[in-house]
Amino acid sequence: MNYLTRRLVTFPLVMLGVSVLVFISIRLVPGDAITAMLGTEAGLLTPAQRAALETYFGMDQSWFGQYWHWLGGALHGDLGISVTYGKPVLDVILRVFPLTLELALLSMIVALAIGLPAGIYAATHAEKPSDLIVRVVAMIGQSTPSFVVALLAIYALSVWFGVLPAMGTFTPLFEDPLKNLAQMILPALTLGFAFAAAVTRISRSAMLDILSDDYVRTARAKGVPQRKVIWHHALPNALIPVVTVSGVEFGYLLGGAVIVEQVFALPGLGRTVLDAILQRDYALVQGSVLFIALNFMIVNLLVDLAYAALDPRIRLGAQ
C-alpha cells in the first residue's frame, strides 16, 4: 500500500467519527427543532401536538435509531432533507458551496499576491525601517478582527462613495462575471487581509532562515547574483511553511467564513451552517459539517503532496 492509498483509507473512518460527534453534540445542545420553530409558543403545545411535531422532525426515534437511519441514507448519498429549506441537504450544500469556494480562492490569491512579495521584501531588508513597517502592518492585519475590517469597508464605501456591492443574493461567476466580482471583491479583500498578514510573517521568517543556510551562502560565494539566489535557490524551500499555512487556512475558509458572510450578507456555507445550528436543522448541520470535514482532509492531503513536490528530501510515508 503506498502513501496515498493509506491516507485515503483513513478518510471514511474520520468521516464516521465526525458524523457521530456532530450527531451527538447538536442533540446535546438544549432546545430542539420544535423550540427553534415555535419559540416560547412551543409551551402551548398539547402532548398530542408535540408528538405530531416530533414525528415530523424525526425526533420520535431513539438517538441510535435516528443515527442508523441517517447513516443508511448517507451511504447511499442521501444526506436527508433539510427542514428549513424543504430540500435535500446535498442540494442546499451544493447551492451555497460555489460561493464559499470562490471566496476562499479569491482570498488566497489576495493573500499570496500581497503576502509573499511583502514577506520576501522584508526578509531581504531585515532590520531596516522598511522591514519594520512591513512587520507592523502585518501585525495589525493579523490582530484586527475581520468584522471590523468588513464594517469599516462597508462604511467607507457607503458614506464616501455612495456605492455598495449587491448584498443578500449571490450572482454565480459564470452568470455575470463582473457583477459577481463586484460582489466578492470586498469580502475577499477583508478575508485576504488577515490571511496575507499571516503569509507575510511566515514567508519572512522562512526566508530569513534559509538565507543563512549553507547552500545559499555557497551560492553567493560562487558569485550567483542576489536576485537569482533569492528566487532560485531560497524561495522553493521558503515556500514549504507558506504552503502549510495557506493550506490550513484555505481548509478553514472552505468551511465558510461565518462572520464575513454575515456582514456582507453572502449566503455561503458558513452562514448556512450557523443558521442550521440556530434553527436546529439537524440533517443540514450533519451534512454540512461532514462536507466541511471532507474538504479539510482533501486540502490537507494536497498540502502533503505539495511538500514532497517542493522538497525532494521529504519522502512521504518513509518508515
Partner: protein, 503 residues
C-alpha cells in the same frame, strides 16, 4: 509587469462600474430585513420574521388596523349572537386565492378544522378551543358554534396563524412548500436566509397595488442594512436594533418610522423558590428598579414605561401602579421586613441578541438591584437554549421580551390562569388573577371588560410576580421616494399595500 497592471486597472474599473450600475425596475420595492422566515405554513410558524412574510401572502378572516380595531379581510361582516355563543361571518364575494379560485366557506371550515386538529400542531389552537362546530349554510356564510361566550375569539382570528388556506392545499398537504393565499402578494421565490421575491396578486380583493412587487434581501447585519439604505440599494427596511435605528435620521434622504408595539420587556421572577417566594422581596425588587433608567441606559430611551397591558384600549397609566417610581428607601424597608436585610444572590438569564438590548438590560438591572443587596449573576445564552430553560421555568430571574396581543385575555391567559399552559413559567398564580381573567373572557360589555382588566393590572403589579418594564418600538426605515407606508402596533407589514414609489 505592465500587462498585469493594465489588467488590474481594467478589472478595478469594471468593478467600479458594476458597483455604480443601478438596476432598473422602478416599480418593485427593494426591501431588507435581518431575520428571515423559518417556514411557510401559516398555521405552524410563530416567529416574527415568518409572520411578517406570511401576512403579505395569506389573509385571516379579519385584520386589525393601526388603531387595533377589527376590520374586514376575507370576511366583510360578522356578528356575535345575543348569548355570545355563535359567531357568524359573511365572506367577501370578491375574495380569491392567488390561483384564481374564490374563497369559499368550505375553505374557512377546513382551515379551522386543520388548526384544531392536534396532528397539525397549530400554534394558535389553544385560542380556538371554544369552537364546537362550524356550519356553512350557503356560499358566503360561515357560522362558528361555541361552547361558551368567547369575546377574545374574534381578535384571535385576526392573527395570520388563523389564516384561511385553500381546502385543496390542505388536502394535498402542500402548505409547507407552496403558498396559495388570498393576500396582496404572491410569493414567487424563497431562498431561506438569503432572499425572497413577491409580486402583486392580481386576484387580491383589496384592490390594485401601486407597486409591482417586493424584492426582499436578508441582511443579517443591521449596520449593513443602514449602508444599503444610504446607497439606495434598498428602499425600505425593517430594523430591530434601537442602536442602529437611531442612526437612520442623521442620514439625509432617509426616514425612520417608529411604531409602539404590543410586546413588552419584563423581568420575570421565580416566585416559587428561595427569597422571591416572599411577597415583600418581590415588591422590594419592583421598588428598587428604575424602569425609565433601564429604558434610557439600555434602549437609549427608545420606548415607554408600561404596565402589564400594552394595548392602548386597555392600558392604564403606569404611575397609578404599585411602585412604578423608584423608591429605594421603601425597597430596603421591605427587604428588612422580609428578613432579607442583607440581600441574597440570584442568577438572571438573558438571550444573546434577542432582543439586541438584552445584555445591556440585564447589566442595568444588575446594578440597580445591587443597591438593595441583591447580588445578580448574569447568564447569557443562545436563544434556543434560553427558550428551553424558560419553558421549563428553570430560572431565578429572566430578562424577557414577550409578545403582546390585541386582547388582554389572549395575551395573558397562558400565564395568569390556573390552567394556563405557561403558568409554570409565570411561577405564580392566585385566585384573584384567575377569576379576573375568566371574567374578562366572558364579559361582553367593553366598558366593564376594561374595568376588569384594569383591576387585573393593579393586582398583578402589587403581588409582583414579574416586574413589567417598558415597550419598545418597531422600526421601518425608508428612502424618501417611498411614500404611504402605515405601521401598526402588531408590527404587520400590511401597510406596504398602500406604498407608492416616487422618483
Amino acid at each position: 509587469m505592465g500587462r498585469v497592471q493594465i489588467k488590474t486597472i481594467a478589472s478595478a474599473l469594471a468593478i467600479a462600474a458594476a458597483l455604480a450600475a443601478a438596476p432598473a425596475s422602478a416599480e418593485t420595492l427593494k426591501m431588507a430585513w435581518s431575520q428571515d422566515a423559518t417556514g411557510l405554513d401559516p398555521h405552524k410558524q410563530t416567529a416574527f420574521a415568518s409572520i411578517r412574510l406570511l401576512e403579505l401572502v395569506y389573509e385571516p378572516l379579519v385584520r386589525t388596523d393601526a388603531e387595533l380595531n377589527v376590520v374586514p379581510a376575507i370576511a366583510s361582516s360578522w356578528e356575535f349572537s345575543e348569548d355570545g355563543k355563535t359567531l357568524t361571518f359573511k365572506l367577501d364575494p370578491n375574495a380569491k386565492f392567488s390561483n384564481g379560485d374564490k374563497v369559499m366557506p368550505v375553505d374557512v371550515k377546513a382551515s379551522f378544522e386543520r388548526i384544531l386538529d392536534e396532528a397539525t400542531s397549530a400554534a394558535a389552537r389553544s385560542n380556538f378551543l371554544s369552537i364546537e362546530t362550524i356550519d356553512t349554510p350557503d356560499d358566503e356564510t360561515v357560522v362558528f358554534n361555541l361552547s361558551q361566550p368567547d369575546v377574545p375569539l374574534l381578535t384571535a382570528m385576526s392573527s395570520i396563524n388563523a389564516a384561511i388556506v385553500p381546502a385543496s392545499a390542505i388536502e394535498a398537504g402542500t402548505l409547507g412548500t407552496e403558498t396559495i393565499g388570498s393576500g396582496p402578494f404572491v410569493l414567487d421565490n424563497w431562498e431561506p436566509n438569503s432572499s425572497e421575491t413577491l409580486t402583486a396578486n392580481e386576484n387580491w380583493a383589496g384592490g390594485e397595488l401601486a407597486i409591482d412587487g417586493l424584492d426582499i434581501s436578508v441582511l443579517p447585519d443591521e449596520t449593513a442594512i443602514l449602508a444599503s439604505l444610504r446607497t439606495g440599494q434598498v428602499d425600505f427596511a425593517l430594523i430591530n436594533d434601537p442602536l442602529v435605528a437611531t442612526l437612520v435620521p442623521s442620514n439625509p434622504g432617509l426616514t425612520l418610522d417608529r411604531e409602539p408595539v404590543l410586546s413588552y420587556h419584563v423581568l420575570q421572577l421565580n416566585a416559587e423558590e428561595g427569597a422571591m417566594k416572599e411577597l415583600k422581596v418581590r415588591q422590594a425588587i419592583s421598588c428598587a428598579i428604575d424602569r425609565q433608567d433601564v429604558l434610557d441606559a439600555a434602549l437609549l430611551g427608545e420606548g415607554k414605561v408600561t404596565g402589564p397591558l400594552t394595548m392602548p384600549a386597555f392600558a392604564t397609566d403606569p404611575s397609578e401602579l404599585f411602585c412604578y417610581t423608584q423608591d429605594l428607601d421603601k425597597a430596603k424597608a421591605l427587604m428588612e421586613e422580609a428578613d432579607y436585610a442583607d440581600g441574597f444572590s440570584a442568577k438572571v438569564m438573558a438571550a444573546t441578541g434577542e432582543p439586541p438590548t438584552a445584555a445591556a438590560e440585564a447589566q442595568v438591572i444588575q446594578s440597580q438591584l445591587a443597591e438593595i443587596g441583591i447580588d445578580l449573576e448574569i447568564e447569557m445564552m443562545e436563544l434556543n437554549v434560553y427558550i428551553d430553560r424558560w419553558l421549563k421555568g428553570d430560572f431565578d430571574m429572566a430578562v424577557a421580551l414577550n409578545g403582546g396581543r390585541t386582547d388582554p385575555y389572549t395575551m395573558y391567559n397562558r400565564y395568569w390562569t390556573k390552567d394556563g399552559n405557561l403558568n409554570h413559567v409565570a411561577h405564580y398564580i392566585d385566585d384573584e388573577l384567575d377569576t379576573l381573567m375568566n371574567e374578562g373572557r366572558v364579559e361582553t360589555d367593553p366598558a366593564r371588560r376594561k374595568e376588569i382588566f384594569a383591576e387585573f393590572s393593579k393586582h398583578i403589579t402589587e403581588v409582583s410576580p414579574w416586574v413589567w418594564l417598558y415597550t419598545g418600538y418597531s422600526y421601518t426605515a425608508s428612502t424618501d421616494k417611498v411614500k404611504g407606508f402605515e405601521a401598526t402596533p402588531t408590527g404587520s407589514l400590511f401597510g406596504l399595500t398602500a406604498v407608492t414609489i416616487g422618483e
